[in-house]
């Protein structure tokens, strides 16, 4: 399993701002190693976020998203102490789920 994500969820008025930092190499499949072999693509494909069990965002990433992807978004609602859960899945079937408490 990959390294944990850093998730920050902050309540601002009637919206909640979420920032996620995922730890992933995001290999494009374009790059060659020193022997001239293509380094196979390895990147996050889908990211989903739920709040109180309700989906708030789903994103699809291509290999052109930077290494250790950052994502930020806001949703209406959310109260201090409630949980935001973020899950990503990469093209090798690896997946990781982390959660954060809204502050």
């Amino acid at each position: 399993m990959a390294d944990p994500m850093r998730i920050r969820a902050q309540q601002k008025g009637d919206v909640t701002e979420v920032r996620v930092l995922m730890a992933h190499i995001m290999e494009t499949g374009q790059r060659k190693d020193s022997a001239g072999n293509i380094v196979p693509a390895h990147h996050i494909q889908t990211v989903t976020a739920t709040w109180n069990g309700k989906p708030v965002l789903s994103a699809n990433f291509g290999p052109a998203v930077s290494q250790n992807p950052v994502m930020n978004f806001t949703f209406k609602g959310g109260a201090k102490g409630e949980k935001v859960i973020v899950t990503w899945t990469d093209n090798k079937g690896d997946t990781r789920t982390d959660e954060a408490v809204i502050s």
């Binding site: 390294d3 944990p4 994500m5 850093r6 919206v15 930092l21 995922m22 730890a23 190499i25 995001m26 290999e27 494009t28 374009q30 790059r31 060659k32 494909q45 889908t46 989903t48 739920t50 309700k54 989906p55 708030v56 965002l57 789903s58 994103a59 699809n60 990433f61 291509g62 290999p63 052109a64 998203v65 930077s66 290494q67 250790n68 992807p69 950052v70 994502m71 930020n72 978004f73 806001t74 949703f75 209406k76 609602g77 859960i85 899950t87 899945t89 093209n91 997946t95 990781r96 789920t97 982390d98 959660e99 954060a100």
Partner: protein, 154 residues
């Protein structure tokens, strides 16, 4: 210069977070749309639009792209897109001159604000398009970003 050598950020050492994630153990991914392979392999904007299910995109001034005019490092170009179009369903970020144009696609669900940000790689200076789907129609806004150091491949 090999930017990929950058050490993986020592993300979150919080053990509590890890334990909580394991105990939660729920993967709600199946409820969401599958990764659109055709769209992510498309080479230009017209093909991406086709793969996403649209034919053409209308230019719109209601889409705001927040990104630097000049990016020093093409491997990490922060791009944020905000849409003021009512009923925005999805926001896609396209980099015109990358090997595959589509970088990321965000599905905006009800209750979520049409305002997302991420960081993308850019192989060279290029136009960056933000495509917004709203009410079955597609809208696009474009911003040119100059890159002084490419971020795709070696």
């Amino acid at each position: 210069m090999n930017i990929k050598r950058r050490q993986t950020i020592k993300a979150g050492s919080s053990l509590a977070l890890v334990a909580a994630a394991i105990s939660a153990g729920v993967l709600p991914t199946s409820a969401f749309a599958d990764w659109n392979k055709a769209a992510f392999e498309a080479k230009n904007m017209a093909d991406v639009l086709k793969a996403l299910g649209g034919a053409s995109a209308e230019k719109s001034a209601d889409i705001v792209i927040t990104a630097p005019d000049i990016a020093e490092n093409g491997a990490v170009v922060p791009v944020a897109v905000a849409s003021k179009i009512a009923g925005t369903q999805s926001i896609s970020i396209l980099v015109e001159k990358n090997p595959s144009s589509l970088a990321a696609e965000f599905d905006i669900l009800p209750g979520t604000e049409p305002n997302v940000g991420t960081r993308v790689k850019m192989g060279q200076s290029s136009n960056v398009h933000a495509v917004v789907k709203a009410g079955g129609k597609y809208y696009v806004a474009t911003k040119e970003i100059k890159v002084t150091l490419g971020g795709c491949g070696g």
